[in-house]
Symmetry: D3
Subunit: 254 residues, 6 copies
């Protein structure tokens, strides 16, 4: 049995200082070690399909590195789950996206869930993610506070108040029974938002995607499970001009 | 933080000796303690809606007791998830059904999953469970080996061979990318079935529902999550002639 | 041909005096006899999954008795349809739940239907019932008047006004084309609610579930139809400690 | 209360002698009178969308006449349900199509149903009918015996054998738990087909659409229900060159 | 290759003067010739299922004539797509309905679409059309301006203002990302409505169904595609008393 | 009006010589000019999610260039539609993916469609594409001939025979009414495959995705339509270290 499970968080953005050591350490538990890294090529933050696409190649590279270093599982640190499917083809350790994971966990916990995210322009992406997860009938709504990712921490009081307000509307208007944060930049706000909702008499789970995905990744490792090689088979060996990617077949042979 | 998480497995059948201490201990891990109990009123095993209904009242009682004893989470030890929704109304600690949990985990891991269960008569129940989970589009099929629950261990070799055969058909005919055991009596067979499938060149996750649900329960506790009180509100105080159930409102007030 | 069809109404609650002889007689018609009984073990009323689960065992027992007494069909007198599936496994005469029956009848009559029930906490149950019936796309909404079951008759004027108001919102806001009462305690209010809606210029069917289910049960008997033994096979013979249930296999052999 | 309910069967084909008086009388029961008529303009039988479209105008005219004559409900005698929606706009008495009605009744009785029809070319129509009914997830399959409508009675033995064979495949291959005849020309074969299936150990409902629709129509009348005027509002007054249709607004005013 | 593609527009209404030569010519383009005709038997306009059914026979006749005259494709000039399926059985050239075509084009262009139509009574028809197209999950809503078809041009300013207002609500309240006109009588208003929406800061496609269907028909012809003879097989040869329809089999043999 | 429409085909692979001038010219028609280009950074061919992700950045760059050069619409030359959504955010001219376009066109033409592709590993991608298009209920199946993309032309006879065989199974076993080629490397085979199917008595549309998408793109331009800026808003201005992408905001301002 894995006495110690090592989960690596991969931030698919080039802005530095987004995750502190304290954040990362707060995710650890008995038998669970957490580390973090980030990409060096790609967008400063991700608020569009375009930025997600530009983030994917280096995110995949970081995940391949993690597997080679003996990490047990990876979590991609963005609710767009950029690079999730391609990186699963490239490695055999579990790779989790916080969006996909949180949606399934929310569906386990209550009748319907809503996602409360940062920007209105992301709402369709969450509806698509739910459709691919098979969970469209379980999503009550996607809502936004309309604050850009890198501004979330400028006025945490205002951010939290906006989250509580949209979560309240998700429950009272849209029929949500649980709420998922729609941006991993909101990490650490769940207790405050849950408290704020209780102040309105609303007692529902508030899902903080990064801790949820990290703990689910550890649960998979302890259950001896990873993604299906039938869904995510190793790509054929092929040249890739313009990129300096590792030879996936060498990796697989190790 | 919970340094130690205590998960209780509740067997909703009156047949004794179904779970050994060795089985239960094998589920433990650093920071995770597992205990087990079972009902004393109800069916000897569950292979019908009728038996599931008869098992529910005492299963709920055992789960209420577990919460009062300070257990952190409960897992119901039957793929019919008997008593799951009513017991969630009665307690605030997470209660997981292995069927619901395994389906969401399978959906996280691959494109489509199949359930391989014991008796043909249970197939519709699994299709209904997938529909309520929102996962009908992610279920490839439900299949059965046609061996009654209490006979599964009589010839483990034959049971495993039948599981491998039906799992293979699930992949090759129905398009499954992952397989879930459709009876918790199959606990412990996952490695052998996965090995058998690899012998046919099929590399997919084989989900053993009890370890999966126990580890997911621990992940929820560590993520400070439980089921939604909005979906599962405490029932009103009411007499219940013919049953000796605890006063739920006293429990809630403790 | 059945010259006379006998339908039995089974109330799955222990509160007495809920159904009067006048109520029951009003359901009769040429060729249709109606009788009624109720459970003696279980909840005083049903407003939760918990109470539904506690009502099921004795409801099943009453339905088995009805079949032995030569009754032609049974209707369970609660919109939670408690015990519907397990009791269908135990008998071969048609057993109908008013919720399932009313939803299919509503779907025959118009584009989309809404359920107007008593308590907000029941809304998710109706959404789940529609999902299992396959009718999610035909349900416009579930709404509640927020009056407990046993208080419905305290101020019938207020109850009817609240029903009309929620039914009106179901039509004007949610797009309903028909309305189903979401509690069998509302029996007898359909004409008044339909009249009230016509006063708002809204001409839609208002479905009173008990008469609808009783007449549908008679239609099934006259059409020589009952539920599928393929979906609801007889449970295997098995001890049931703690319960005094009839031997299902003896019944079946009669 | 309606002591006597009068249901009219409308055959939307111009071939005469299709329905005998004995057929019609066999549908009567205490409190239920049944009459029949047919169209004089349109196809000899219906095996295509084209023929269904050509049958609709005169079918609608017959249904308007039935309402004027005081009939309580109409049933259209074709599984294509030709003219169902337009005729519902033109009258206030219930009009039922045997396809739509049988699908909802089948869904009440078991997990999934199949339709066994005459010609392969009709299969897509049944899948579309199920989709509009909201019942796609409840339909296991549509199958055909490949015998034209007007040839069904030429060799009833062969017709019944073919029906039993396709129904058996629907159960064993497609997962059906109930079977609906996909042509009203198969009226009266249900008992023989059910018997044939029992000979294969298959105990499922076999739904004969005309008796099922007639009895359901009577149940609606006794429940004081008809289709929704919100879904099927009276058409505006308008000239209709080339057709000799009654003035719908005069009818409505009577 | 088809150097010149000829598309015929078939108006399924008997009111004359609805389409001007200028309208028709405005649809032409290099390599694309457009002609128009209309029915002589049937309703003056179509605002109900009843009128759609009465329009179908002569619409089918016009489409058969068009094929005999060497036209390359037909477009039915009504958002109810009357006669679409039956006429496809009768001819081999592409026949397009503007409703079905516009919904698929809208789905290609954005996340979700809404239909803005003339009368409230048509909303359910659009929801049914989306369901049959498989696009229910892509339709945000159907809305109406509540102006009868033949009054649309009485005050074009008011009509356009009402369209802009409902389209705005479709976007802001219902979540639409594209808008389809729900009546071909609105032909030519798309640029003005799109401009009006831009004035509200809303930059979405406004789909004018007739030009969209005509250009799509030409694209199909250039791609050597027509509807499937498997879905729309030629009807069997059969008498059709009361109608003077061409012999479809003679047509097919030509 | 656009007298001349210019459509650019973007090949998202680095293998040269894949598209000949003759191929490209064969797509032209009166009023339609077609040009082609390809990426220089990324995979040699695309047979995985991984290769699709690596192809996206340079594909997006080529599409931005096309818009700057005055091209009217772009078509991405791969059935994985790599870069479709992100590139739509970056430009305002229509960008079409052949997979998404062909699925909607197939759905216009018949009841259900199947995709016949090259490699088994791509099947789940097509099921996901159909789900996002909203067309899961319209897809009969995805099948593969199991020949790698760059080997397709090695033995065209064998490739065509394999396509005919899988298309035949799609029709006879899976219920397809139209077939889409699941790889743009099969360009030009449609007539031969359709002929082969006719030899089996199967008369269905065979959709060649590149001509279909090019002609649909021209139809959109002629209908003054492009993708929704509400679904695909311009990304915020942001640094993109490691990539040399154009400034999207400068482009937009031009």
């Amino acid at each position: 049995m894995h006495q110690q499970v090592h989960v690596r968080i991969i931030s698919p953005i080039t802005t530095t200082g987004f995750r502190t050591d304290i954040d990362i350490k707060s995710l650890e538990a008995p038998g669970l070690v957490v580390s973090a890294t980030q990409i060096s090529k790609g967008p400063g933050s991700i608020e569009s399909e375009y930025e997600g696409a530009m983030a994917a190649p280096d995110t995949i590279a970081r995940i391949i590195e993690a597997e080679r270093e003996g990490v047990d599982a990876c979590v991609i640190d963005c609710m767009g789950d950029p690079g999730l499917k391609p990186s699963r083809e490239a490695v055999t350790i579990p790779v989790l996206g916080p969006c996909n994971t949180s949606m399934h966990v929310a569906a386990m916990l209550g009748h319907k869930f809503s996602v409360v995210t940062v920007m209105r322009r992301l709402l369709a992406q969450f509806e698509n993610a739910a459709a691919l997860a098979g969970l469209s009938t379980r999503m009550a709504s996607a809502r936004s506070v309309d604050i850009p990712v890198l501004d979330l921490e400028k006025d945490m009081e205002a951010t939290r108040a906006a989250l509580i307000e949209e979560a309240r509307k998700a429950v009272e208007i849209d029929g949500a029974h649980a709420v998922i944060f729609g941006c991993t930049g909101l990490f650490g706000c769940a207790a405050a938002v849950r408290q704020g909702l209780l102040g309105h008499g609303i007692d529902i789970p508030v899902i903080d995607p990064i801790p949820t995905a990290v703990n689910t990744a550890a649960a998979l490792v302890r259950s001896h499970l990873s993604h299906s090689a039938h869904t995510f088979p190793l790509p054929p060996r092929k040249a890739m001009p313009g990129y300096d990617m590792p030879d996936l077949h060498t990796v697989a042979a190790e």
